[in-house]
Amino acid sequence: MIRLLKRYWRVIRRPSVHYSLGFLTVGGFIGGVLFWGGFNTALEATNTEAFCIGCHEMHDNVYRELQPTIHFSNRSGVRATCPDCHVPHRWTAKIARKMQASKEVWGKIFGTVDTPEKFENMRLALAMNEWRRLKANNSLECRNCHDFQSMDFTRQSPRAQTAHSTSLASGERTCIDCHIGIAHRLPDLADAHRLAEKHGGPHVLPALVGGTPREEAQRQE
């Protein structure tokens, strides 16, 4: 192994005998551009809704559920596609998410959720993944479109005004704490607390699923 590495190292270190410096630099540049362009194109191709619903797991479950919601059909026709909410927009975070998504390729190959029954059994775990992510990044994917600074409370209903001007404004709560199940059906919440323990405690749960402040206080005693 070491010998093999040494041999390659020697080849790489040796100056080129046949190719000119110009060819190598310009060729390297063009090759780099082609590689980067191709990489990014492929990355963007996997970041479309058409790609997501290419699998029947996504098309028959979550995509169906999205359709009657406000994020799919509404008066102004602006809509959110799968990656708008499920893939970070910033490049580094996006790459990190894409690497995580290799597990979803595994799931596809081995049919982890390939029937409605299997999907229903996994629903809580899957929902929990998304809740944890959004809790941890302060609902970044919501805020990519819904900017708190641009919210006009006077145009909101009394209920929305109260919630947004107190808990949300103070940072005590984040979007997902209350707006769970906004785009997909909610899972059976009976096991939520047990699953949350695996992920480090009830604080990973959205407020509407987790315990009330009083219950939390009793739990800690």
């Binding site: 009657p68 919601t69 406000i70 629903r123 209903s157 009394p158 209920r159 109260t162 199940g181 906004i182 059906r185 909610l186 899972p187 059976d188 919440l189 407020a207 509407l208 009330t212 402040p213 009083r214 219950e215």
Partner: protein
């Protein structure tokens, strides 16, 4: 033969009557024609409690409930109106009557027979009623000292 003719005649009369019949709730469209539904309205979202028409009336929902999930997995209403949630949400708690089962046993939480909130509680839409409402509040009735026969229009 005679029976056949009479049955046929009866059917004809019935069809004619149906075609002429105009239902108040449908508007001026004959029953046999398809009616274009009126546009959907936004429900009342004022979050202001309304007076109940009678003491046992299930209170109406003074806010939007579009997309609220109520099935075997989750009950969106209870995420604010459950006993343990009201401190945070400041929503009215479900009535104590909702904790008893049909045998009168007092349960720890919402009785399964009360699970589907929309069976009794409904949101309100500001539309003109299709038929005139002649309901009289019991207090009005008592003050008037009248009987059920003293309805408006019959006085």
């Amino acid at each position: 033969m005679r029976i056949l003719i009479s049955v046929g005649l009866a059917a004809l009369c019935a069809t004619a009557a149906l075609a002429q019949h105009i239902d108040n709730a449908r508007g001026p469209v004959p029953v046999m024609e398809e009616h274009a539904p009126p546009p959907l309205q936004n429900p009342d979202n004022s979050d202001v409690r309304r007076q109940r028409a009678y003491a046992m009336q299930p209170p109406i929902i003074p806010h939007k409930i579009e997309g609220y999930q109520t099935d075997r997995n989750a009950n969106r209403c209870m995420m604010c109106h459950a006993r343990t949630r009201t401190e945070q949400s400041q929503a009215p708690m479900i009535s104590v009557s909702h904790f008893t089962d049909r045998d009168g046993n007092f349960l720890a939480e919402l009785s399964p027979r009360r699970y589907f909130c929309l069976q009794c509680h409904v949101p309100q839409v500001p539309v003109k009623p299709l038929v005139e409402n002649r309901y009289i509040d019991v207090e009005t009735m008592l003050r008037r000292g009248g009987s059920a026969s003293t309805l408006p229009g019959r006085e």
